[in-house]
Amino acid sequence: MSLLHKAGRLAFPDVEAPGAPPLLEVDDLHTSFRTPLGLVRAVDGVSFTLQRGRTMGLVGESGSGKTVLSRSIMGLLPRANLERSGRVLFSGHDITAMRPRELRQVWGAHIAMVFQDPMTALNPVVRIGRQITEHLRLHLSMSRSEARETAIALLNSVGIPEPRARLRSYPFQLSGGMRQRVMIAIALACGPKLLLADEPTTGLDVTIQAQILDLLAAQQAERYMAMILVTHDLGVVAGRADDVVVMYAGKIVEMGPTNALFSDVKMPYTEALLASIPRLTDPVHTRLSAIEGRPPDLVSPPHGCRFAPRCRYVQARCTEEEPPLVEGDTPGHLFACWFPVGSITTRGPRPTTAAQSGPSS
């Protein structure tokens, strides 16, 4: 994989030939961790493809495997106690088969990541300027002054005031929103084709969150990057993603184009997740429909559908056979459910109090 782009042409145009492989193809990816309690199946058979210029929202609660999936795609997980199978093809090259040396050429230059917590992701004792220019000098072989001017342009493009002065700042001298902008500038520095944004706005205030999401969308459109936006907030993906993938207990339970998915939710988990969000349009003191119970233990997940123990529509078949991820009436809209929303008229009773069973073991 050669570094085709040079300094000053960071926003390279898409020259993808017809018939070329998709930018990212994940094929039956399994990622498990060996722990004293047993094998934790964090990602359990995930497949999808992502084309250039598209934004995919990857949604799930804590423990759903969304972060492990995004790190598996990048090849960022430590190899100790890791069991992995399946393929991650980036422009036709299998990332899972690459040696660390090859991976280092991919990271930053072709696939970049924006992490959740910019304070811990940035090096606290290195000035902002060097943290940006080291990528430019390494991957794009820029001279010191060239890299410096590019860094200033990058900081300017992510909306940091006085970029020249900011190069000499340390991360602690910046606010959370500004630090996240620096993270984005670093991620964009070498013009990656794929940007993984792992909960990029989770620690930020709501007005700053809107700024950062707008910035990511603008940069993505300008550079014609593909982006995977990992989040627990369905509100964030609703307005920003072309496609949505919903994960539960290590598996994709529903995926499809954003509008199709939100207008015709098929998987009871997605429905329950949407229903549990308080809405501004609801009257005050509206009782929220909570999802009872808690996500399953990934060491010994339940038999059949993993959401069955918490599902309000659960039937006998759900606990016996695992539902496959199949396409419904709308092209591209897939879901894993024997009895999708709307197919059963007899709904199970919904308890009004949120009762939880005993503690975990």
Binding site: T55, E61, S175, G176, G177, M178, D205, V206, T207, I208, Q209, A210, Q211, L213, D214, L215, A217, A218, Q220, A221, H232, D233, L234, G235, V236, A238, G239, R240, T258, N259, F262, S263, A272, L273, S276, I277, P278, R279, L280, D282, P283, V284, H285, T286, R287, L288, S289, A290, I291, E292, R294, T353, A354, A355, Q356, S357, G358, P359, S360, S361
Partner: protein, 383 residues
């Protein structure tokens, strides 16, 4: 609950002369109708400042006044650094107020000695944001929940155990399965249930919930919000609910108070504030919320800029540096909290929408026409 006449309101400061506070903050006169008869908790001209390096001061809370009526839920909302948590903590003097008064059930908490304060605190409880770190990891759940009773020697050991059993069951946990376990064996949502059980042991009147659901997943967040509503009804609680999530605050609150950088911006009934926000900051906050609906139009440009430092806050209106309607007057004068309708108060020289006739009190009478609503404009960057 009736709105008190300012002339007869017992603790109303509306008629009191403005007095200078520390740090050059002149306590502005309060609008009539801000305080209510029979309010269970009254916060009056609360100022909290912390020392900062080089002799400077962090202006965490600057001249904040509101009250909480018996049985209501007041939502206190704002972004990080707005002083909402400090306000909650200053009420029970976890953080010491620099000046101002806090009156709880007829007792002035800010004037109490240590022993009297300890006694008073049994009736105001606090629930913290991080449920796991607010429970002692080395103690069993039954001891954690029973500790308030043990400290105050309430009842016999058998009675105490029954109270603990009732409380743990009431918050939706199985007593026999949970009592002998330690906090690390529980999920975040379950730990928050234990915190709630502990807070209820001494029959508090007021529970201050400091971001109780911020650390939880949405599905669990809904469980805890429902539980708080249940506990409020069952034990006759009054809640001061502090959060940054406007949708969560709207769901649980009867009235809502919006704070920005240590000052109160807007106060009013939740429905009214959300339907007709009067402060430009409230408008901006509401516009920033991502709606879980792709069809919902994101039609308002988010406000630019960062939150200024509370060490050196802007003069005049503290929101002026980010406000699209800021005028010279916003730099020169601190906008006082002004009544703009029944139960509606706003601290802005040029409030946007008003829900009722303008009060002649305060400065609203002399202000020009309200500024036009925020320009509807699709961000050019949106995909």
């Amino acid at each position: 609950m009736t709105v008190s006449d300012p002339a007869t309101a017992p603790q109303s400061a509306a008629t009191a002369a403005p007095r200078p506070g520390p740090g050059g903050i002149a306590a502005a006169p309060l609008p009539p109708g801000l305080f209510h008869d029979g309010a269970v908790l009254t916060v009056e001209h609360l100022v909290v400042e912390f020392p900062a390096p080089r002799g400077r001061r962090v202006h965490a809370v600057s001249d904040v006044s509101f009250d909480v009526r018996d049985g209501e839920t007041l939502g206190l909302v704002g972004e990080s650094g707005c002083g909402k948590s400090t306000t909650g903590r200053a009420i029970i003097r976890v953080d010491r107020p620099t000046s101002g008064r806090v009156v709880f059930d007829g007792t002035e908490l800010t004037a109490l000695g240590p022993e009297a304060l300890r006694r008073a605190r049994t009736r105001i409880q606090l629930i913290f944001q991080d449920p796991i770190s607010s429970l002692n990891p080395r103690r069993r759940v039954r001891d954690i929940v029973a500790e308030p009773l043990a400290i105050w020697q309430r009842g016999t050991p058998a009675e105490r155990e029954q109270r603990v059993r009732d409380a743990i069951t009431a918050v939706g946990l199985d007593y026999d399965a949970a009592a002998d376990r330690r906090p690390h064996e529980f999920s975040g949502g379950q730990c928050q249930r234990i915190s709630i059980a502990r807070a209820l042991m001494l029959d508090p009147k007021v529970v201050i919930c400091d971001e109780p659901v911020s650390a939880l997943d949405v599905s669990v967040q809904a469980q805890i919000l429902n539980l708080l509503e249940d506990m409020k009804a069952r034990y006759g609680l009054t809640l001061l609910f502090i959060a940054h999530d406007l949708a969560v605050v709207r769901n649980i609150s009867d009235r809502v108070a919006v704070m920005y950088l240590g000052r109160l911006c807007e106060l009013g009934p939740s429905d009214d504030v959300y339907a007709r926000p009067a402060h430009p900051y409230t408008v901006a906050l509401l516009a920033s919320i991502p709606e879980p609906d792709p069809a919902a139009a994101r039609n308002v440009t988010p406000i630019a800029g960062d939150i200024p430092s509370p060490i050196d806050p802007p003069s005049g209106c503290r929101f002026r540096t980010r406000c699209p309607f800021a005028q010279q007057r916003c730099t020169d004068e601190v906008p006082p909290l002004t009544a703009i309708g029944p139960e509606r108060f706003v601290a802005c020289h040029f409030p946007l929408a008003t829900s009722g006739p303008r009060s002649s009190a305060g400065s609203a009478g002399s202000s020009p026409e309200p500024a036009p609503p925020i320009q509807v404009d699709t961000p050019p960057t949106a995909p």
